[in-house]
Each structure stands twice: as C-alpha cells, then as structure tokens.
C-alpha cells in the first residue's frame, strides 16, 4: 500500500500533461447542417400527457413526410432534464429538438455552443414574434438573438382545497386571499382550525429552481411584472422584494408553512390547504379534490385580472448536433402551429405561448372553464431573465432566501442586499 500513493501521483502528473491536449479544436461547422433535410431525433418531457401529445404529433408529421421521419423519445432520466441535456451537448449526441428546454438553462447551453441561433434561419424570428407577440422579447439572449422558441407556459397561481376552507369556516367560493394580510389571516384560520398541518407547503429545500414556486410569482405580482434582473441589476432587494420576503418569513415563523420538506405531495395528501401550481394541477387534482384557484396575493390586493405571475414556461430549442436542421425547423413550425398548439392544450392543459390564447381557442375554453382562468393569467406572466450564469444566480438567491426567510438566521434586507451584489457580479460576467 505504501507504494500506491507515490505511483498514483506520478501517474497524475503524467496524465495531466495528456489531458492538457484535450478540448479545443476546430468547429465542425454548421453550414451543411443548416440546409440539410432528412430524419431527425427529438426529445420531449416524460409526463404522461406530454408523451401522448408528442406521440400524436410525431405520427402526424411522419405520415406526411416519409423522407424526413422523426424518431422521438422521452428525455433520458437524470437528476434533472437540464443535466441530461447538458451531458448530451458535451457528448455531441443531443437530438435536433428538445421540447422541454428550461429558459433558465438556455444561457448555459448557449455558452456551451449547444444551441442553434434561430435568427440565422430565414423567417424564424418573424415566426416567433408573430406567434408569441410582445412576450417573445423575454426570451431573447443578451446577444439579441433567439436560441429558444417560446412554447408553453404554466402560469403559477394558488390552488386551494374548498372542503378544508369550508371546514375552517371560510367562504370556499370567495376566500380572502388577495392581500398579504388576508392570506396570512386565512392561513392562520386554517391552521388553528386544525384542518391541515400547514396552510401552504412549498418545498423548503435549497434547489436553485425552488424560488419559482414561492418567491418569484409573488415578486412578479408585487412589482407588476418586474424581472428578477433588469439592465444587469438585481431587482429583488428593493422594497417590493423585501415585502414579499417578509410575507413568506411570517408564514414560516408562524408555522403556516413547513420548514421541513414533505415526503410526497402535501396538497394531494391533504396535509396543506393551498399550493402554488400551474394548469397541470387541474388534471392531477381535478377528480380527487374540490379545488378553487386564485391569483397570487400582493400587499395592496391587486385586482385579479391585473395580477402578474411567473410563467414557468418550457420552450423548444434546436441543438447544434443536429445534422438536418432544415427539417428540424420545419418540424418546429409544424409542432407549434395553431392546430398542434390546440392539441397540446387539449391533451395537457398547458398554455401554448401564442397571442390571444383565449380568443384563438374560445371553443375549448368554453367547454373547459376550469382552464379559462389560467388562460387569462397566461397573458400576464414574466419569465426568468435571460442572463449569464443564470443558474448560479438563482442558487445564490435561494441560499440567501433560505437563511433569512425560511430559517430566519439572518436579517432579510441584509441577506438580500448581499445576494443582490453577488448577482450583479454574476450577470455582469461574460
């Protein structure tokens, strides 16, 4: 054993020299690929409804395009979709299109040279802007180009259990949840009545994406649609951001939310009376829970039809490993056409990111009024900012939020000011 370590270190030094030769090299060039047509691979999300939509869409395309067949599969299993996609980019075996690209991961994928600049495809920018309207601007990268097609959103709202509200003596049809004070009073009533362990139970864990389901929707509402970062400066340490954080801190301090992660689905298991969800929740809880839905609260009680929230969008991106990018673009247009968007809406309940959604699918919403409120909310959403070091930025914020809001170890303003300085530094890097 005595000889192992010196031998290992010698090998380490020798191999470090070998490794220095790795990386770099010339680009394989995308000129041929950009104009090429032929078979392509695509990945889509692994939830049952999206798989069904994906299979139907692929079948419809393949029936009409025998020379440009699509091979589709679910995103490979990993800790998260983003990790699986990042690994595929690095390995050079990413598919042509992925129908579950998180906007927060786009800056990292772009830096890795894994994404095709859609602006370089003739007519692509016009198509995106015509389909999505002004909201498309949120998905433009810092270099001014689109590297993702805005696809669908899951605007975050508050789901509540009507039976629990009624049991606690609250009006289940018009619950007082519009202002922070009302939300707190309602939560106290629910917990004191003993109808649920906690009034609401968002995950208190430290993953970078958790702010999207507690802080960010309410920050968007409180600021009437401010992005997390604007013009290279963090916005969350201002008066509105701290007000939202203090609201959540009160919730945690009074035990109205759990500091411990629930091992399962707290709302589905009737351990909490409210939850932050998107329209997907209609299909998940629809038959088991008598539910109601309201917008996220603001300190002043913004009218419901004006409340802005987080979009929780998932987009489509084209990956540079694609050898038949002309076909991939045609498939992208086909799968985001009015017909396919309608199919997506019907099969998944998720909101296609196209202009005048309620008007375009008026018939559907008339027949499915449960989704109407989400469609209206989808018109008023904000996205995560498209900035460098996006995920590191969210992790920095989550750590500050965790120590100040959830666990109360540090003053909120102090923690947020420190995190804002760090975030300013991160988004300022290239």
């Amino acid at each position: 054993m005595k000889r192992i370590v010196p031998a290992g270190l010698t090998g380490l030094v020798l191999l470090a020299g070998v490794a220095c030769g790795g990386g770099g090299g010339e680009s394989s060039g995308g000129g041929d690929a950009a104009a090429a047509t032929g078979p392509i691979d695509i990945w889509y999300s692994n939830n049952q409804e999206e798989v069904a939509w994906g299979e139907a869409m692929v079948e419809a395309w393949n029936a009409e395009n025998p020379d440009e067949q699509i091979s589709a599969q679910e995103i490979p299993a990993g800790q998260s979709s983003e990790e699986a996609i990042a690994a595929a980019i690095t390995a050079g075996n990413a598919p042509c299109l992925i129908y579950n690209t998180s906007p927060a991961a786009v800056p990292q994928f772009q830096k890795s040279a894994g994404l095709v600049n859609l602006d370089e495809i003739e007519g692509a920018r016009a198509y995106i802007e015509e389909r999505t309207g002004d909201k498309a601007e949120q998905y433009v990268s810092p270099d001014g180009a689109f590297y993702q097609m805005p696809w669908k959103s899951n605007p975050v709202m508050i789901f509540y259990n009507k039976a629990m509200f009624a049991e606690a003596g609250l009006d289940p049809e018009n619950p007082p949840l519009a202002t922070h004070e009302e939300f707190l009073a309602t939560s106290r009533t629910l917990v004191e009545a003993g109808v649920a362990t906690h009034a609401i139970w968002p995950a208190p864990s430290s993953e970078f994406f958790q702010p999207w389901f507690d802080f960010y929707p309410m920050f968007a509402a409180e600021t009437d649609g401010s992005l997390f970062v604007e013009d290279g400066a963090a916005q969350f340490a201002g008066e509105e951001g701290v007000a939202v954080a203090e609201f959540w801190k009160t919730i945690y301090d009074e035990g109205l939310a759990g500091r411990e992660a629930y091992n399962g689905d707290a709302f589905g298991d009737a351990q909490s009376a409210m939850s932050t969800v998107g329209p997907w929740a209609v299909a998940v809880y629809g038959e088991d829970i008598d539910w109601g839905v309201v917008p996220v609260p603001t300190s002043a009680g913004t009218p419901a039809e004006e409340v802005v929230t987080f979009s929780d969008a998932k987009n489509v991106a084209m990956y540079t490993a694609c050898e038949n990018q002309a076909t991939a673009w045609e498939v992208l247009k086909f799968s985001t056409s009015e017909e396919q968007d309608g199919a997506l809406l019907e099969m998944t309940g998720q909101m296609p990111m196209r202009q005048d959604l309620p008007g375009t699918y008026a018939e559907y919403f008339a027949a499915n009024p449960d989704y109407e409120v989400f469609a209206a909310q989808a018109e008023r959403t904000v996205e995560v900012p498209n900035v460098p070091n996006s995920i590191e930025m969210w992790q920095t914020f989550r750590d500050a939020y965790s120590e100040s809001v959830i666990f109360g170890d540090v003053d909120v303003q102090e923690a947020f000011t420190g995190a804002a300085e760090d975030v300013d530094g991160l988004v300022g890097q290239e």
Binding site: S112, S402, I406
Partner: protein, 315 residues
Amino acid sequence: MATSTSVPAQAGTEAPVRTPGGRRWGRLVGRQPIGFLFAAPYVLFILAVFAYPLGFALWMSFHDFFFSAPGVAVERPFVGLDNYVTVLGDPDVQRSFRNIVVFLLINVPLTVALSLVLATALNGAIRFRTFFRISFYVPYVTASVAVVAVWLYLFNTRGLVNEVLGGFAPDPSWLVNSTLAMPVIAIYVTWKQLGFFILLYLAALQNVPKETYEAAAVDGATKVQTFWSVTVPSVRPATTLVVLLATITGANLFTEPYLLTGGGGPDGASASPVLVMYQRGIEQGNPDVAAAIGVVLVVGVLVISFVNRYLLERD
C-alpha cells in the same frame, strides 16, 4: 549480522551470459514478464476510470474551463490559482468542509467501535449468529434511496422518533436543525455501512491465534481485559483499513445530504464538499471551480489518511 545473498553456480550448469541491456530489461520486467499481461486489464481500468479523470480534473482546476459541444473552438486559458482562490474564499465551500469534519469525527470512531464490538460478538458462539450477520449486512446492500425514505419517516417532525421522545423531541426537528442534521447523517451512514466493516473485522478475527485467548484465560483475564489486550491489538491492521476506508468514503459523502436533508439543508448545515462540487460543476456549469474543490478534498483526505496511518501503525 550480515548475510550473503549470492548464489553460487551449481556444478554442471553454466550460468547464462547476460548483456547489460538484457540485465536492465530483466530488472524491469522481472523473472515472470507474463505477470504484466495478467495485471494489464486492471492497470488499464485504473488509468481509464481513475487516473485520467483525476489528472484531467487537476488540469481543469488551473484553467478557465467549461463544458462545450465537441469540435467547437473554445478558449480555455491558464488561470493559475484563481479557481483555488475562489474555492477557498467561498463561504459555502468553507462550511461544507467544516461539515465534513464534523461528520468524520462522529462517523469514523463510531464505525470502528461498533463494527469491532459487533464483529467480536458475532465471532463468538451466540444464538442466531447467521441471522444477526445478515441483519447487519442488509442495510449495506440496500439502495440508499429506499433506506433514506425510511429515515425520513423516522426523523421528520411527526416521525416515530419524535413520537417516542414526546416533549424531549428537538425543536426544530432533527433534519431541519442546523446543529443536529449532520450528526443524524453521520449516524445514518454509520448504521448503513456497518455491515461491510463488520465483515472486515470478522475476517481479521479469524486470523487471531486461539492460543493467545487461551493464554489470556489461563492468566485469569476477564472478557473485557481479553478484548482490550488481545482482540484490539490483534486486529490493528484491520483497524487501520477500516479507519482509512471510513475516512475516504465519508469524505465523499453526497447521497445522504442530497436526499435526506433536501440538498444540504437546513441552510447549508449538512452540505458536503462533494454536494457543493455537484452544484458548482454540474448544475451551475463551473467545472473548473468544482475541480478545484475536488483537488482540495483529495489533498485533505490524503493528509488525514497519512496521519491516521502514522498514529495507528506506530509501535
């Protein structure tokens, strides 16, 4: 006393004539060159899955490195110690190293003590010995994800442990208590790995000569005296191995803080260096910083291991 190692040529045989080059080759490959062939697969395995990644990580830690698509021309300039400065100045990284020290201080002594005592007991003539041996080994071979779920039910606020403790239950509860989260993880890992270390000690105990126990019995030693004076010194090489393995596997802690405390919670109190490496390298796309954390961790583990060996093997 000096002894001669030269072997005179036997009568009737002629010593082979060796050229200087042949002697050098002989020294290099030994008398059985075919041994290289047998060792080659394992050497290649070590080079491919251990030495090359380690060397590459070392190289990454001195460069501005990020993952990119193959064939793309990317600048990866040498940045000297910048990544190490970032790592050593990062409060999250500092805290993760403090956390892992707490973990090792609980886990390693507990592992050595419990596995030696239980192995000694299982080595004796006790009833249901096979049952106990299997029972201790089952957690080791069970998937962490499944076992963690059981511990979550045991140690959450309304879990069995708190139900039993009643008014004595800690507040905040175990897994969201910044003082108790890491000790709970250390105890969990000790329990889960115990079966493996018991096996090591059982193997070592088979080699302790019975005569030493008989001599101790003749001298009138009690069971406790026999344990301290015969068993413990006799299995010292195994103890060295257990301490080294427990230290190395403990320093690589990842699954438990990731699953049991929701990503190193509460508020980073149970984050380990490997968990932070995962966050920085895989989630946040900074493999160069993650590599620097890894190198610091390797160096730290080497130092601890050398100190352990020095303390445990000196006469």
